[in-house]
């Protein structure tokens, strides 16, 4: 009578790069690759989010499929034959990385340098970057008004950083339009719907309603968008400021897991500490209670422990 319901799980067997692997039914090709120890590059994929298939960097070849398939979203099937390292896969990944690398600032995106090297991507061959857009220009871009480049410079999404509050900044020069922030803010977790994708084509961008500054938007500053951003486009203001000052030094930081002191839910916090000060707060994506999410108090409300008199 009083038992925890158990889901009967079936498994499927597939072949990846010549090796057989068995995974539970419903697992993706990416899950299967990881189970086998062959991780694939991903940018728009998030462990806690619904796959959106935006970045295409995880594509693989599936026998019998006309097109390459995104491994992060495609479910593994019995008898599937997958290849992750063919010329076609490598070429496609190279193009994706080059297009992103030539148009977006990927300097704070972890792992990307390694992938660029692995896939011999050379974003610089598209020419020097075009001048950045003036403040607000991309926010006002109308669909259909985008002009093709001159062929000499690489079109970019470069623009000034948006700093409109003390919690976090938006550096859309680093945005690859992976939609993860939109999903975290939307139905996947927070359900606040403060942001969405506006515009079309190369002018598409993440935006609040009418591109309002965050304090005038629906944003509740949970920072769950920062938690899933794969490139550092969304960043704690504390981290941004320290990077600007040249004082951000991850090698000098410790990460300690503890429990939030606000309310009784028991959210797990990872305190990133440098020089005896908390510089940012995250939560483990695999944590049973938070799944990486926090609220404004948990993520930003720590300052009281370090408003120390000798520092004022």
């Amino acid at each position: 009578m009083s038992v925890v319901p158990v889901t009967i799980s079936h498994t499927v067997e597939l072949e990846i790069d010549g090796e057989n692997v068995r995974v539970r039914e419903g697992a993706t090709i990416l899950d299967a690759c990881r189970a086998q120890g062959r991780d694939q590059p991903t940018l728009c994929y998030g462990d806690t989010l619904t796959p959106i298939n935006a970045c295409r960097v995880c594509v693989v070849e599936v026998e019998g499929s006309r097109v390459l398939v995104p491994s992060c979203a495609r479910k593994a099937e019995d008898g599937m034959v997958v290849r992750t390292d063919t010329e076609r896969v490598r070429h496609s990944r190279k193009m994706v990385l080059e297009f992103l690398g030539s148009s977006v600032d990927l300097t704070t995106a972890p792992n990307v340098d390694g992938w660029m090297e692995e896939y011999e991507a050379k974003p610089e061959r598209y020419g020097p970057p075009a001048p950045p857009a003036p403040e607000g220009a991309r926010d006002r871009a109308q669909a259909g008004h985008h002009h093709a480049g001159d062929g000499q410079t690489a079109a970019t999404v470069a623009q000034p950083v948006k700093v409109d509050n003390e919690s976090y900044i938006r550096d859309y020069a680093k945005c690859i339009l992976c939609y993860k922030c939109v999903e975290g803010c939307g139905t996947d977790w927070q359900n606040t719907f403060a942001i969405a994708v506006a515009g079309r084509g190369f002018d598409a961008r993440i935006s609040t309603e009418y591109a309002a500054p965050l304090p005038d938007s629906a944003c509740v500053y949970c920072g769950n968008c920062i938690a899933v951003c794969p490139t550092g486009a969304l960043m704690f203001k504390s981290e941004h400021d320290m990077r600007e000052d040249g004082t951000w030094d991850e090698s000098e930081q410790t990460v300690t897991e503890t429990i939030c002191s606000y309310c009784g839910v028991g959210c797990s916090l990872e305190l990133h500490v440098q020089d005896n000060s908390i510089v940012k707060v995250t939560s483990p994506l695999d944590h049973g209670i938070t799944r990486g999410n926090l609220c404004v108090k948990g993520r930003f409300g720590y300052q009281y422990v370090q408003n120390r008199p000798d520092e004022e």
Binding site: S167, T256, G264, G266
Partner: protein
């Protein structure tokens, strides 16, 4: 409930339930990460009912918002019970197997007709009936509550009223069905678990009736424990009033600003012979103290455990060195004991925890390494093979009869808030939290929140119109205990006759000047949720008002 003071269910069950009652809880703002689970459930098709006088952010996600008059919770729950019983939807089999007192309970709810409930609660009769039927018919259903249930003079009765509904329908002791108080502070649950309540030793072992447990503690501590309940907070203040309590040691509380009827509280604290305050800040209370013991911040400058709302014991860890002379709470207590002539030897928090495990059977299996490895463990955890309990009271479903003590129905009657509305004080003031702030703001005031807009008197558009006050206009707010000034904010989530304030900005607006210290006799919780107020335009100079407020205090 039924012998253990903790929520029955796990958060993960919320996602898999069919129906959720959020009763006196604005979890969207006060427990945002718990509310993510509610949203998952809603997006999976679960029905959400929100019982709240205000149409809160949580209520906006509800299938049905039951906007009751403040303090009419028992009228609503008893009427729901009557609907369920009359429809024959009560779980006869479960009631026979696992409960006592059904007949008396059924008779007691009989007078709570829909007509009467609609009158007493202000909720349309149809909405009450539909909600009751939906709750009874759901395969799995949860009731979750917060301070909207417990910050009343009849707090315990309110909780009983909700427990009664679960017993009536068998919505407890099963996966996905349960009764869950969402704790307002990170270690309210742990404080109770650890015996920081006047009637229990750690592990909910009764100090009066559990002789075996008392003997165990006496042997371990080499001392005699009086088989007598102590005072809870409210009783302490009553004892101060009688002059029986002359010295007070306050650890991590700010009663000078957090207690109802603040002027009176201040007067009592000032009258003490000796006040010791151990805190991370020089709070308003600490300013009154004879001795202040600066403490380290428990969740990031010290090690230890806390317990959350799903009974999960979790480790907190030190990430920062405390400033100046601040010291770990355990260290301070041990040092005080030493100066009183007791040589306690504790080698850090794990040592304290190991002692706790030896004395509290429900924590026995929770070693420090297991707590870290399993991401916390939910009590009870009887031994080191036990992974802890996902949900409580499965025993109530044992065949053919519930094992252990049956769960009793408790007859409760609707009693209106103590602070009556009158011609002089015609508006009901209720209090609560906002998303980005916390309690008296001691902690949350430290960061720069883009959402913060300071204290205000939130009024319905109708009341603002009839009082002829505009958004942002400063007004005088008075109750039978005192007056404060606050700017008006017009809030369409409030019904006419209902006003809202927070307790977050006591240095700006001391809301607790207004609140009443009428308390629940069993829990000691004050009725922060229901004061009667009057709102006046500021025609009178401020100095005169303060004198009036002062006179009120002096008259007590």
């Amino acid at each position: 409930m039924f012998g253990a003071g903790g929520g029955t269910s796990s958060y993960r069950e919320v996602e898999e339930t069919d129906l959720i009652f959020l009763w006196g809880s604005n979890a969207r703002e006060t427990h945002p990460i718990f509310f993510h689970r509610v949203l998952k459930a809603v997006n999976n098709g679960a029905r959400l009912f929100v019982v709240d006088p205000r149409r809160t952010g949580s209520a906006q996600w509800a299938d049905t918002w039951l906007g009751l008059d403040v303090g009419s919770d028992v009228a609503l729950s008893n009427a729901m019970a009557r609907v369920i019983i009359h429809a024959g939807l009560h779980n006869r089999e479960f009631i026979d197997r696992a409960t006592t007192g059904f007949e008396e309970y059924a008779a007691s709810v009989e007078p709570y007709t829909l007509e009467r409930a609609a009158h007493d609660t202000g909720i349309p009769a149809d909405a009450i009936r539909e909600s009751a039927l939906a709750y009874a018919r759901a395969d799995r259903a949860m009731i979750c509550w917060t301070l909207g249930i417990t910050e009343h003079h009849n707090a315990v009765d309110n909780v009983f009223a909700l427990i009664n509904l679960a017993l009536l329908t068998g919505h407890v002791g099963r996966y996905g069905s349960g009764l869950n108080p969402l704790r307002g502070q990170n270690n309210v649950q742990g404080g109770g678990d650890m015996g920081a309540i006047p009637n229990k030793l750690p592990g909910f072992q009764d100090v009066e009736s559990n002789h075996e447990a008392r003997a165990r503690f006496e042997a371990a501590w080499n001392t005699t424990i009086q088989p007598k309940y102590g005072w809870h907070l409210t009783q302490m203040f009553e004892a101060m009033e009688r002059g029986e309590l002359r010295s007070l040691y306050v650890v991590g509380e700010n009663p000078a600003q957090s207690e109802a009827d603040a002027a009176h509280t201040l007067h009592l604290l000032e009258g003490l012979d000796h006040l010791v305050v151990q805190d991370i800040f020089l709070t308003r209370t600490a300013e009154l103290a004879d001795v202040v013991l600066p403490a380290s911040v428990s969740w990031c400058e010290a090690e230890g455990t806390v317990t959350n709302s799903e009974r999960r014991v979790q480790c907190v860890r030190k990430a920062l060195d405390p400033p100046g002379q601040a010291r770990d709470d355990i260290e301070i207590v041990v040092e005080i004991a030493r100066r009183m002539g007791y040589e306690w030897s504790y080698d850090g928090p794990e040592d304290v925890w190991t002692e706790l495990r030896s004395l509290s059977p429900m924590h026995r299996g929770m070693t420090y390494p297991r707590l870290a490895e399993l991401g916390g463990i939910q009590w009870p955890c009887w031994d080191e093979q036990h992974e802890g309990e996902l949900f409580l009271h499965a025993r109530l479903w044992d065949e053919p009869k519930a094992s252990g003590e049956p769960a009793p129905f408790n007859v409760v009657v609707n009693v209106e808030p103590v602070d009556e509305l009158s011609d002089e004080f015609p508006i009901r003031l209720t209090t609560g939290r906002r998303l980005d702030s916390y309690n008296t703001g001691v902690q949350s005031g430290g960061y720069s929140s883009p959402l913060r807009r300071g204290e205000s008197l939130d009024l319905s558009p109708e009341d603002a119109a009839s009082l002829a006050v505009a958004e942002g206009e400063r007004v005088r707010v008075s109750s039978r205990r005192g007056s404060v000034e606050a700017p008006v904010r017009i809030d369409s989530s409030l019904r006419p006759g209902l006003a809202f304030m927070t307790l977050h900005f006591p240095d700006e607006v001391e809301t607790n000047i207004l609140t009443i210290d009428a308390t629940d006799p069993k829990s000691g919780t004050a009725e922060f949720k229901a004061s009667a107020i009057r709102v006046d335009k500021l025609d009178v100079p401020a100095a005169e008002q303060q004198t009036a407020a002062g006179a009120n205090v002096a008259a007590r």
